[in-house]
Symmetry: C2
Subunit: 438 residues, 2 copies
């Protein structure tokens, strides 16, 4: 578990002036990674590091030969179209690169002139999926979400007996993962209307969101070699925002006995920026389990996990209807919560996933599962916020929503802040629902 | 749906003499693809085509410039370490390549001298996973398996109401798919022993097999663009054997509500050879649904699917215990069945998978689900053959098995034969259980 070091010093200022503005997501203490190119260009995608409203273009940095030795190697790996090679290098290299970038981007750094030439404004960029995602696994780590949704799908049996023992997860679809800005058609499929004995076929009527974090695997493990809790976070490159769009009516009809399939795999949207585990070090908090709950089995337990296993990441969901867009109002916040409420930690996800010998690879992605908090306004899905569609959600402009309508955009945001540490953010994760295929 | 043509003529003979032997899996009417190199070498893997006991090395064929034009291009694509580029080319190209290879490998072909130099004996080869599998989806297409296993997991509710309407599928793990010869450690994990209220942790005690076919996607579809039944098979490159190893005790405890996860993702073994859909054309049969069952919804129905949607592929499971191996006895057959009994066809899997807009990519793999036939000796999993472990399976050497023991090897075999057509086979898919990690 990475400790605080000079890169976290809240007094650090960058020669990129926009990085020093209060409330900005990308101060010098953050330094997240993305894959990008200039909007509308045919340039190759390459890795970049956010600093203020700019991107430090790692391909340009590599070209300019600003760094040598192991840092130069790391920059070269980060200059590829996707970040898998950088992710494979491991924590000591990621950490050395972070330190070098922090020093070179500070006010007064000797590298200023050379790096200035390697900046691309974020306003001119478009982003790609940051890694070749070999496998995508979605977890279910909020006990509040599991309970809320369990009540709707299985009123008699909301929280299953395995929940407090197993970090429940299942495999998801990698091919349909897109980056913020993704627009997708409302899915079509089979549903069983209330009271019907035969399914209907047509566009989804209960299209929902799931507020999640994405967790990118860095270094992998060999098939047959589990990763113990003590090493688990060394395998994690960083975190992003993730919207696990969900077709609830399709899900209800298809999900037994083998789990969600077409109700999820039509689209998953992630934020372009991956905030490293090291950047999040000031925001580690105790992982708290209610005293009455069973303690994790030994393979999922460690003192470090109990002391600092959780991340206090503030999360927010914004909904922008077509009317709001026309009126230029921006989106309305429909949920505020924190990742600290999760019932299972990132380390527990890694260890559980590999305990049977399953091999992870650089660039694999985990979803945290919907991160609903303990109270209803902290719920990360419309199905919870509207009690299964029964209580329409009032929006500030007088509209209401039960589930998503065509043209609706959803924007996830995440950030960390507290006294004595620099505020860092995740940028945004935006996706838009297009009408079903005609 | 590919029709019969000159490549299927049972009278064809190859100048590779071993291809003409009766009972051989790889006559000139088959021509399946794999990725291979010489055993123990550091050569690059490349595509090859099986002919008798030889492999036609596509990298060598490309190097020798035996073919030009679009066939030359297809050979170049097939010469890559994995077959994704060839899979992306589409049915007209696959078909043209098959015809060219068929003609060039026939007795009296002008290409004999040039191609003779491109043969590698199968006995000297080792194989790789034939494609970069972007996503792996496992289906559940045998109603007999679904009913048998449903009785064990849910005695009150064996066949769920969605089964006869939806080709049930779920996402599986791509990273742990290995090719025939795979050896894997017995998985370790959480289980809930009978009568216990808290889970135990340890090696799986109910390790099982699942006899399946694998279906490799050829050309993909764009996100948002479903594939209709009429085009579905054009997206399929070919079929292989697949063993979906399953830890039943881990599965029973973890699988609700999101499906199997660690009970499956520790290993999946496929045969190296992919038999093309065109090679299987003589073995297409009617897809028969019991008269009392609901007919498929229109999006899953077509006349062609009803007439010739199924494949009559004979399947067999062999079990070789360490004692049999020591005695040099070979494996004992514990199941014989046919793929014709499946409740949903390959075309229905493709169409259902994409109906919500989900995008398939070249090299994606589907599992058929366990292909149990209508009678108990046709069951493709030990949990069915032993009634959940209650009735040990007698083996010919006097041993018995309920579930797999350490050192057991399982060999899947598949072939097609009938009067008036050449017998073609899939080779074998072998995997061995190693003891759990100490």
């Amino acid at each position: 578990m990475t400790m605080l070091n000079e890169t976290h010093d809240p007094a650090l200022r960058s020669w990129v002036a926009s990085a020093n503005l209060a409330g900005n997501d990308f101060p010098i203490q953050n330094l997240p990674f993305a894959s990008f190119r200039r909007q509308g260009s045919t340039e190759a995608f390459r890795g970049g590091v956010a600093i203020g409203d700019q991107i430090l273009d790692l391909a340009a940095v590599h070209q300019a030969g600003v760094f040598t030795g192991n840092i130069g190697q790391a920059v070269r790996a980060g200059a590829q179209p996707q970040l898998n090679d950088l992710m494979a290098l491991g924590t000591p290299v990621w950490s050395a690169l972070r330190l070098a970038l922090s020093r070179a981007l500070r006010e007064g750094a000797a590298e200023q002139a050379a790096l200035q030439a390697c900046l691309v404004p974020q306003a001119q960029a478009e982003y790609g999926v940051p890694a070749r995602i070999g496998d995508y696994t979605d977890f279910y780590t909020s006990v509040h979400h599991a309970t809320n949704i369990g009540k709707l799908f299985r009123p008699d049996n909301p929280l299953l007996p395995n929940y407090k023992w197993i970090p429940i997860g299942y495999h998801g679809r990698a091919s349909s993962i897109g980056v913020s800005g993704q627009q997708f058609r409302r899915p079509v499929g089979q549903t069983l209307p209330p009271g019907a004995t035969q399914p209907s076929f047509g566009p989804c009527k209960r299209l929902d969101i799931e507020l999640e974090l994405g967790i990118f695997v860095g270094t992998g493990n060999e098939l047959g070699d589990p990763v113990a809790m003590a090493q688990a976070e060394d395998h994690v490159f960083g975190l992003c925002l993730l919207n696990d769009w969900s077709a609830r009516d399709i899900q209800a009809w298809e999900y037994q006995p083998l789990g969600p399939f077409l109700s999820k795999n039509f689209a998953t949207t992630i934020s372009p920026w991956i905030v490293t585990v090291e950047a999040l070090a000031p925001y580690r908090v105790a992982f708290e389990r209610p005293a009455d709950d069973p303690q994790p089995l030994p393979y999922l337990d460690s003192e470090a996990n109990r002391q600092r296993g959780a991340f206090d990441i503030q999360l927010q969901v914004g909904l922008e209807t077509p009317k709001m867009r026309e009126a230029g109002q921006g989106d309305a916040t429909i949920c505020r919560t924190s990742y600290r409420h999760a019932y299972w930690t990132v380390a527990q996800m890694v260890t559980h996933h590999t305990v049977n010998g399953c091999n992870l690879q650089p660039g694999d992605l985990f979803g945290s599962g919907t991160l609903s908090g303990p109270t209803l306004d902290q719920a990360g899905a419309l199905i919870e916020l509207t009690a299964g569609g029964k209580n329409p959600l009032p929006l500030p402009n007088g509209e209401t929503r039960t589930f998503l309508e065509d043209g609706d955009a959803v924007v996830l945001r995440g950030w960390c802040e507290k006294p004595g540490a620099a505020r860092i953010g995740f940028g945004e994760c935006r996706g838009t629902v297009l009408p079903a295929r005609g």
